[in-house]
């Protein structure tokens, strides 16, 4: 556990900018981003493709460096990869030659923790996301949604302080996606991890988040930070409720103003 000052945010991002050099051209990917995320909070980074959401998330945990500004976790400046974290990417990134359970346990092996002690936990986690009986299946025997569930278990098995998700359900069909949202909410409510969720689905962001950081098109900057104070656990039915659609409407209007969305 990190030693977090009672008042300060767990993740503290201060005036971060990022430039990419592509041949002759310099692309401004992120511009002067500042925000904080409290411990146990679920925050979404919402914005159009290519606005630097993923880059920002990687900078937060030291997997990429920023050109200016700094990220701090628990007050400590991030200069190298921060490892008390679990990451889920858009693609499951499972190893073909490992079973579901072995893929989950990769996290433990790489960290050089005693694998034996985590086998029960891996099975319990897999059962929790509805994969009981699939522990010994190889990835090619699993559906896209199942693989992503395995990836989620792999991100949680070591009980990390922070859970990062980079459009984890972006490649799934709408129905599977809804189910995954429900499952993720349930698991998050149980464990109350600090979660950062990158998405370009307005619906998904509102459904899952405590706060949404809305980003502008490139160069990515913060357009608005929205607090979603809907009660939890949220249900799919709630998506039709006026309180819910007030948020989605507001964000959609914001994207219209930014030119991300245009009426036909």
């Amino acid at each position: 556990m990190l030693d977090v000052a009672a008042t300060g945010p767990l993740i503290d991002v201060r005036s971060i900018s990022k430039l990419f050099q592509t041949g002759e051209e310099t692309v401004h990917a992120l511009r002067d981003i500042t925000f904080g995320i409290s411990q146990g909070e679920f925050v979404s980074l919402l914005g159009p493709s290519g606005c630097g959401k993923t880059t920002l998330m990687m900078i937060m945990v030291g997997l990429t460096s920023a050109n200016t500004g700094e990220a701090r976790i628990g007050g400590r400046r991030i200069d190298e990869p921060f490892t008390d974290v679990g990451i889920v990417f858009q693609t499951p990134e499972l190893l073909d030659w490992r079973t579901a359970q072995e893929n989950v346990l990769l996290q433990i092996e790489i960290r050089r923790l005693p694998v034996r002690n985590y086998i029960e936990r891996a099975r319990a986690l897999l059962a929790q996301v509805g994969l009981e009986g699939f522990e010994n299946k190889l990835p090619f025997e699993l559906s896209g949604g199942m693989k992503q569930r395995v990836a989620l278990c792999r991100a949680l098995i070591h009980d990390p302080e922070i859970l990062l998700m980079d459009e984890p359900f972006g490649a799934l069909d709408a129905l599977t996606r809804d189910q995954m949202n429900l499952d993720l909410q349930r698991i998050w409510l149980e464990k109350r991890k600090t979660a950062v969720f990158v998405t370009h689905s307005i619906d998904e962001a509102v459904f899952l988040s405590d706060r949404i950081i809305v980003m502008t098109p490139r160069p990515g900057a913060i357009a608005e930070i929205i607090k979603v104070d809907l009660p939890r656990p949220r249900t799919l039915d709630q998506k039709d409720a006026p309180e819910f659609s007030a948020f989605t409407k507001h964000i959609r209007k914001r994207f219209m103003d930014l030119g991300v969305l245009k009426d036909g």
Binding site: P81, T83, E93, L95, W97, I110, R111, F140
Partner: protein, 249 residues
């Protein structure tokens, strides 16, 4: 198998009917008799070839995989070695064979060297392709787990590269057989290649054909050995499934 037998039958009949001279094309029955009677000689001489093939190929694997690995991790090494590698590949190695004899004599060494040189390149290239086919996200994942370069190599990169590496092995093992035979052709006092040269000199076409059959058998044997190893090392790959779903497309 049946088609092969038919071919042999036609061959035998044609040779007998048209009374083709033995030094041009011998009948299969003659070759079979030769194979049976000269069996100890062929076995002994193939042993010489086989040893050279095994040592040369093993050497190519033992040097090729580490070389490809170094090329992945060291830009400096890659830039330095690549032109040399390419030059060694485009240069017809058969042309080197006489030199090898001058330098190393008629023993095992020049044969092994030729085998090594000829099978080295496909192993390096395919290993390189395989090691590079790792997804960056997978490596980021390992970094987020605090994993070392060593761990990412053994747990991710190498297993990911295995199908490619075995692809390289399959090409290389057939090359290795060619490498050894060529070396034996040019200058050697043992091996199936040497038997071939000797028999041709005596217009003993029956022995030439018999030696070629032995070579085919050896080639198959090595190739299948690589395939068996592949099956042992690679599990859970979707190749079979994609074949099934693709229905031959």
């Amino acid at each position: 198998m049946l088609s092969l037998l038919c071919c042999l039958g036609v061959w035998e009949a044609t040779v007998r009917y048209f009374d083709v001279p033995v030094y041009l094309i011998p009948a299969p029955s003659l070759i079979a008799t030769k194979l049976m009677t000269a069996y100890p000689l062929f076995l002994q001489e193939s042993l010489h070839s086989v040893i050279s093939i095994i040592i040369g190929f093993t050497l190519a694997v033992a040097v090729g995989i580490p070389a490809a690995t170094l090329m992945i991790y060291s830009e400096w090494f890659r830039r330095g070695i690549y032109p040399i590698l390419l030059t060694a590949q485009v240069l017809p190695k058969v042309a080197l064979a006489p030199l090898f004899i001058v330098w190393f004599g008629f023993g095992l060494l020049p044969k092994v060297l030729m085998t090594f040189l000829i099978s080295f390149f496909p192993i390096v290239i395919d290993t390189l392709t395989g090691l590079n086919s790792v997804r960056p996200e997978s490596l980021m994942l390992i970094r987020s787990m605090g994993g070392s370069r060593w761990q990412s190599f053994w747990k991710i990169r190498l297993p990911t590269a295995l199908p490619s590496i075995f692809g390289g092995f399959k090409v290389a093992i057939t090359f290795a057989v060619v490498g050894t035979i060529v070396a034996e052709f040019v200058g050697s006092d043992h091996g199936l290649g040497y038997i071939l040269v000797l028999a041709r000199g005596n217009l003993d076409t029956v022995t030439v054909f018999a030696a070629i059959l032995w070579l085919i058998a050896i080639g198959f044997l090595f190739y299948f050995a690589v395939e068996v190893a592949e099956r042992i090392f690679i599990r859970g790959r979707a190749a079979r499934r994609s074949h099934e779903l693709g229905a031959g497309l």
